[in-house]
């Protein structure tokens, strides 16, 4: 089988990666993230129908009136309906929603309450979330440095940060809703990316110890080629699941599937071109990976 020279284009792709990450950060600054109802809060409207209505019809009439993301729930009885909207509450919102609902039904509808609602996610989650990420990164670095070598831990963490930034960047660029399901997806991307990077690193370590010939670049190339089949298989199976979720899963898991599809693609790419690249940039060599030799007892007697 032909050996693909992965590392031949590494400088070009390093520039590409840096551009992607910088672009993502820029987009995060300019566009910000479009936080969903979970994070920002929104408005709540409660209405009472004179007789019970199918919830699908209510959703449909709200969708037509320009509230596609509305959450519609029965509230205590089949005729009382609670509608939650991901937009700022205004004094006239209740009546606007009411007229939208009246247009879609024969029954009488009356307004019970119209109020703003706060975020479902507290500020403490954002703070703790950020802190948790940093702590997680630190511990991953320590563990990888202990099991592999320091240069590998830098590679793994850089690849991880690379993936998360790009997923967030795409979300802000396309102005996709960032809600709790997307947050869960980002956490899964972290798990996936790390898993992938470690598998590749493991083979690189093994080959550095096993192969007597070749410079670092050749050894890494060989390792990437050996793991390529596995990398593609795993990405493909995961992507298969995600395609199914994306195309058949309905709008609720759309965001989740989108975030993960980007994450899996970028994660696969980054374990080849980011993690391995970092190793070369840091001048990984055979000596870094030889099992530590036992120090000889120095006989200090004359």
């Amino acid at each position: 089988m032909k050996t693909i020279n992965f590392m031949g284009v590494r400088k070009l792709l390093a520039a590409f990666s840096i551009a992607l990450v910088l672009g993502s950060i820029a987009s995060l600054f300019v566009n910000k993230l479009q936080f969903g109802l979970d994070f920002t809060g929104g408005a709540l409207v409660e209405v009472a129908y004179s007789k019970a209505q199918p919830l699908e019809d209510i959703r449909a009439s709200l969708g037509q009136a320009g509230y596609p993301e509305a959450i519609v729930q029965t509230f205590g009885s089949p005729t009382d309906i609670m509608v939650r909207l991901a937009q700022d509450h205004t004094a006239t919102l209740g009546d606007e929603v009411l007229s939208a609902l009246r247009a879609g039904t024969e029954a009488e509808v009356s307004l019970l309450r119209s109020e703003f609602v706060g975020a479902q996610v507290g500020e403490e989650l954002r703070e703790q979330g950020g802190l948790g990420m940093l702590l997680a990164l630190a511990i991953v670095m320590l563990y990888v440095a202990f099991r592999f070598q320091f240069k590998f831990s830098v590679g793994a963490v850089v690849a991880l940060a690379h993936d998360v930034f790009i997923v967030l960047g795409v979300f802000s660029l396309l102005k996709l809703d960032f809600d709790l399901t997307v947050l869960a997806a980002i956490l899964a991307v972290i798990g996936y990316s790390l898993n992938d990077t470690i598998v590749v690193s493991d083979r690189i370590r093994e080959n550095f110890r096993k192969m007597r010939k070749g410079d670092s670049e050749e050894i890494i190339n060989e390792s990437l080629n050996q793991t390529l089949g596995r990398t593609l298989m795993t990405s493909l199976t995961t992507l298969l699941v995600l395609f199914a979720l994306f195309f058949f899963g309905g709008e609720m898991i759309h965001g989740f599937a989108t975030a993960l599809m980007i994450g899996v693609l970028v994660g696969t790419y980054s374990s080849i071109y980011v993690a391995a690249n970092v190793l070369l940039v840091m001048n990984i060599s055979r000596e870094d990976l030889l099992p530590p030799e036992k120090e000889e007892e120095v006989d200090d007697l004359p």
Binding site: L44, L55, E56, R59, Q73, T74, F75, G76, S77, P78, M82, R84, E115, V117, G118, A119, Q120, G122, E124, L125, Q128, G129, G132, L135, A136, V140, A156, L180, T181, L183, A184, L187, A188, I190, G191, L194, N195, I198, V199, D202, L228, R230, M233, T234, T237, T238, L240, V241, L242, F243, A244, L245, F248, G249, G250, E251, M252, I253, F256, L260
Partner: protein, 621 residues
């Protein structure tokens, strides 16, 4: 012999899988939509007669229940669909009248033999199944008054230190303060001082009945700020309490200016939740007054247990419950309930400083609870709920200080183990900044439409099927082995989540499938390794052996690193992040078991211990 598992290993695997299957089984029995009928007061009995009346009420609406049973805490009627359930609740409520509470419920249909070994289904989240909805109102008047009390003591200190002579500070009905001075000169000096110190005051100098006083109003902006602070603080505390209660995937958010919504998924002990969420309890630690202390500096309180006589204690507070960093309920040497308290740094220093100079004196623990009396009155023909808040302060313990206390000590004198754990929970979760009342309680339907739920479930099934087909095509017999392991992994994961009674949401389901997608990875790693070894010229048996052997360290490293991340996320995260971390960790552990142990056992059964020419593991890589 190569590639043979000893019998005990195979038996162990079968045993683990069997336990998994049994504990996952309750999820096959779907919950029934049910309506629960209980008496409005616990004295109202529920018997066959009531059940008959409920059934008659259903008949008039053309409804029938699929089953009905009498339980210790009421009657349960089961229905086919949630629509029927909602209509039935209306009908029964009208039929039985106000003496009975009819509540929507979800009744598990787990067979008795499963329930008896502690197996039960996973709970479904607010998005899939709905839950109970509480609307609580924060008492803003009380919040502002509490802040004014702080101002009063600050103003007194400031006036005293500037030697400005005042007579009294009083609260007015409209929420303003009056500061009375001995003469106009003192008042003007006071006005200058307070203007300088407090930009948030609107101060007016007034003279009435020969007295000079200042009328102090808080600015509108300041009142808003106090209210905002109170509601934010309460929101945090309520979130903490919901988490402490162990309710997974709740919804807690602000609604309108002064209200908080709490939604709890699935069937929960709603009575317990209500009791904990609205409770405003705190502790104060104070020294017992010396006999010669002036009356102005002391207060007298009663004990919680009515046998002891009231005690007089100092007005100065050493610390309050807000200095508590951690609290645990446990039992003392005599088996009496107690709460072990750890103070934060500041609290510990305060406690040490005061108790150091008070050895042999006694210290009182004061239990403070904000309560309300509710009565109903007819106002212009409409019944109105009138709530009068009051504060109950009682001493729960008065003990001699044997030695200077540090940041760890215990409190006793509690009313049983239940109260000890409740007090510990409240201290851990923090106090409410202002009293809070329940104004509405309802059940809510699922936040996702039926259509969305069905789409989600279908897509998950399609995704899983695709992975199975893909593995079969690529790895042939080994693919079948991997598929068996994958399916078993799903069963094990469901079993583990059911044992922890985790709450399942739609993103959670997607997460499970994702862990399945990723669990394939371990098998892909092993199979690729086997193929590689075959290519290197190893005979099939050795290739299998080497493949498993070599791939193990890779799988172990990769999974352990991910598991580390999951554990950290669980430790620092809250709510949804925690839930995800649990799913991820369980998925990693179960997939390691099925992908390595189970597949090896199967491969050994198929190929092990005999002469083979080739393996059915597909071509290519």
């Amino acid at each position: 012999m190569l590639n043979r598992y000893p019998l005990w290993k195979n038996l162990l695997i079968v045993l683990v899988l069997a336990v998994g299957v049994i504990y996952a089984a309750p999820n096959l029995y779907p919950d029934d939509y049910a309506v629960q009928v209980t008496g409005a007061s616990s004295a109202t009995p529920i018997d066959d007669r009531i059940l008959e009346r409920a059934k008659r009420a259903l008949e008039t609406e053309g409804l029938t229940s699929t089953a009905s049973e009498l339980e210790s805490n009421g009657a349960l009627l089961r229905f086919r669909s949630s629509d029927e359930q909602l209509r039935a609740q209306e009908a029964i409520k009208r039929g039985l009248g106000d003496d009975y509470v009819t509540a929507l419920n979800l009744a598990p249909t787990t067979p008795d033999w499963l329930t008896s070994i502690g197996a039960g289904p996973m709970k479904l989240g607010l998005d899939l199944r709905g839950g109970v909805h509480f609307l609580m109102e924060v008492d803003m008047v009380a919040a502002v008054k509490q802040r004014l009390d702080v101002y009063v003591s600050e103003i007194k200190t400031k006036l005293r230190s500037e030697r400005i002579r005042y007579r009294a500070i009083t609260h007015n009905e409209d929420g303003s303060l009056n500061v009375k001075f001995s003469d106009a000169e003192a008042r003007d000096a006071g006005q200058t001082l307070l203007r300088r110190e407090y930009s948030e005051f609107q101060i007016a100098a007034e003279d009435a009945d020969g007295e000079s006083f200042l009328n102090i109003n808080l600015t509108e902006a300041k009142i808003r700020e106090i209210e905002d602070y109170a509601i934010k603080q309460n929101l945090t505390t309520i979130r903490n309490r919901v988490n402490e209660l162990g309710v997974a995937e709740p919804l807690v958010q602000r609604q309108g200016r002064n209200r908080i919504v709490v939604q709890l998924p699935g069937v929960q002990d709603t009575a317990a939740a209500k009791r904990i969420l609205g409770k405003t309890a705190n502790l104060e630690f104070r020294l017992e007054a010396r006999p010669d202390e002036s009356r102005a500096n002391t207060e007298t309180f009663e004990f919680r247990d009515e046998r002891s006589r009231p005690a007089t204690i100092e007005k100065d507070i050493i610390i309050t419950g807000s200095s508590v960093a951690n609290a645990q309920a446990n039992f003392d040497e005599n088996g009496m309930p107690q709460v072990s308290i750890t103070l934060d740094g500041n609290g510990g220093r305060m406690m040490n400083r005061v108790t150091r100079n008070a050895v042999k004196r006694r210290m009182a623990v004061l239990f403070i609870e904000h309560k309300t009396r509710t009565r109903y009155e007819m106002v212009e023909g409409v019944e109105q709920e009138i709530r009068t808040p009051y504060v109950e302060k009682k001493i729960i313990s008065l003990a001699t200080i044997q030695t200077a206390l540090g940041n760890q000590f215990r409190i006793t004198g509690l009313d049983g183990a239940g109260e000890a754990s409740e007090l510990a929970l409240l201290l851990r979760a923090g106090a409410l900044a202002a009293p809070i009342y329940f104004v509405e309680e309802r059940t809510v339907g699922p936040s996702l439409g039926q259509q969305n739920i069905e789409l989600g479930v279908t897509s998950v099934q399609i995704g899983f099927a695709l992975v199975l087909v893909f593995m079969l095509v690529f790895y042939r017999v080994f693919g079948i082995v991997a598929n068996v392991a994958l399916s078993l992994n799903l069963v094990m994961l469901v079993a583990a989540m059911s044992m922890l009674s985790a709450t399942l949401t739609l993103p959670g389901i997607a997460g499970i499938v994702l862990t399945v997608g990723m669990a394939v990875d371990a098998n892909v790693l092993i199979f690729s390794r086997i193929k590689e070894e075959l290519k290197n010229g190893l005979p099939p048996q050795s290739a299998i052996h080497a493949g498993y052997e070599r791939a193990f360290s890779t799988i172990f490293d990769a999974n352990l690193t991910t598991l580390l991340v999951a554990v950290i996320l669980f430790a620092v995260g809250t709510g949804p992040v925690k839930g995800f971390a649990v799913t991820l960790s369980l998925g990693i552990i179960t997939s390691m078991f099925t992908a390595i142990m189970v597949t090896r056992s199967l491969v050994n059964l198929i190929y092990g211990g005999r002469e083979i020419k080739r393996l059915s593991i597909g071509g290519g890589v």
